[in-house]
């Protein structure tokens, strides 16, 4: 004979609990953590390089690069003037709050004001797992198309800011900037939208202003 024990426990909630605890700790320490997500090839690393160049004199930046298996990106970011480590995810399609905490410990954050987690390139899985970050950002690049908020709604729901990268190639693509705004705002009315080109530098000022503002208000609690 078998006895049934009811549990009704959400497995996602286990990660959520770790994430909330990490966020509270970061808040207490005044350390701002940005979770940066996107598809592969959207320009996360080149956007970071421009961001570091613009902010390195006022903020101490630390970057955690998540990758299945390589350290190309960490070297690039380090050369730009930030502290960087590579997190090998060993085939995982996303980072959990636990892995993020371990990453922060490996990075060492005593001398960091702004920590950036470059999540695995993927619009699906990273959106499902709260990393414990202060804010979530995503980069959508022009060649990917303006329909992405319709196809990957959860990603746009969990992000505080959407950066639209590669606007320098807008004339060559059927990418409708107004339409992507409309689609993203429909999923998430509070999402901030910042068009940039990591190549020409257009819009980087506005993006850096957003970061400055968020880091400051996080520190002030």
């Amino acid at each position: 004979m078998l006895r049934t024990i009811e549990i009704k426990q959400s497995v996602f909630e286990s990660n959520d609990r770790v994430a909330d605890a990490l966020r509270a700790e970061l808040r207490a320490r005044g350390l701002f953590l940005l979770n940066l997500m996107s598809s592969p090839g959207s320009g996360k690393t080149s956007t970071l390089v421009k961001t570091i160049a613009a902010l390195k004199d006022e903020l101490r930046i630390g970057v955690m690069e998540a990758d299945i298996d390589s350290d190309v990106d960490a070297h690039t970011v380090e050369k730009a003037g930030a502290k960087a480590i590579q997190l090998h995810t060993g085939g995982m399609c996303h980072l959990t709050a636990d892995m993020t905490r371990q990453g922060l410990e490996a990075l060492g954050t005593e001398d960091v004001d702004l920590a950036i987690l470059e999540n695995v390139g993927n619009l699906v899985c990273p959106a499902e797992f709260d990393t414990g970050a202060s804010k979530n950002a995503m980069i959508l690049s022009v060649p990917e198309g303006h329909d992405k908020p319709l196809k990957y709604p959860l990603m746009f729901e969990v992000c505080d800011v959407m950066v639209i990268n590669k606007i320098d190639v807008l004339p060559y693509f059927d990418f409708d900037l107004d339409l992507v705004r409309e689609y993203a705002l429909r999923r998430n009315p509070k999402i901030e939208i910042i068009p940039i080109s990591a190549k020409t530098g257009e819009g980087i000022d506005r993006w850096c202003d957003w970061l400055r503002r968020e880091v400051k208000s996080w520190k002030e609690g």
Partner: protein, 114 residues
């Protein structure tokens, strides 16, 4: 897409629960997985079996109950199954909706010998 992490986390939670409640044998673990959770039940079983190795769950059975992905239409208020209707309200044709159920990934219950 991320069956392995969820399997590992779920197993960890079940083992913790068993330890706290003095359960030393589990016949069946029942998971409740939503149609919209992006988890593929077949992959889940494989990941589960791999992640259970060398734990007390190694010989336990896994049962997966699938919960429907239902949503409420943002335009006409109708409640419908999102998967069966491919995300379009069968009443008014709108795609605008709020998900009511189907994203869950829960440990529902354990069947243990009396």
């Amino acid at each position: 897409m991320h069956e392995m992490t969820l399997a590992i986390q779920a197993i960890r939670n079940v083992l913790e629960f068993a330890q706290e409640n003095g359960i030393d044998e589990i016949d069946t673990v029942v998971l409740e997985i939503g149609e919209l959770s992006l988890v593929v039940p077949e992959y889940k079983e494989e990941a589960w079996n791999a992640a259970c190795k060398h734990t007390m769950l190694e010989n336990s059975r896994l049962q997966i109950d699938v919960t429907p992905g239902n949503g409420i239409c943002g335009d006409c208020g109708r409640v419908y199954n999102i998967v069966a209707n491919r995300g379009v309200c069968p009443g008014c044709g709108s795609r605008d909706k709020e998900v009511l159920s189907g994203r869950e990934f829960n440990i529902k219950e354990l069947l243990v010998p009396e």
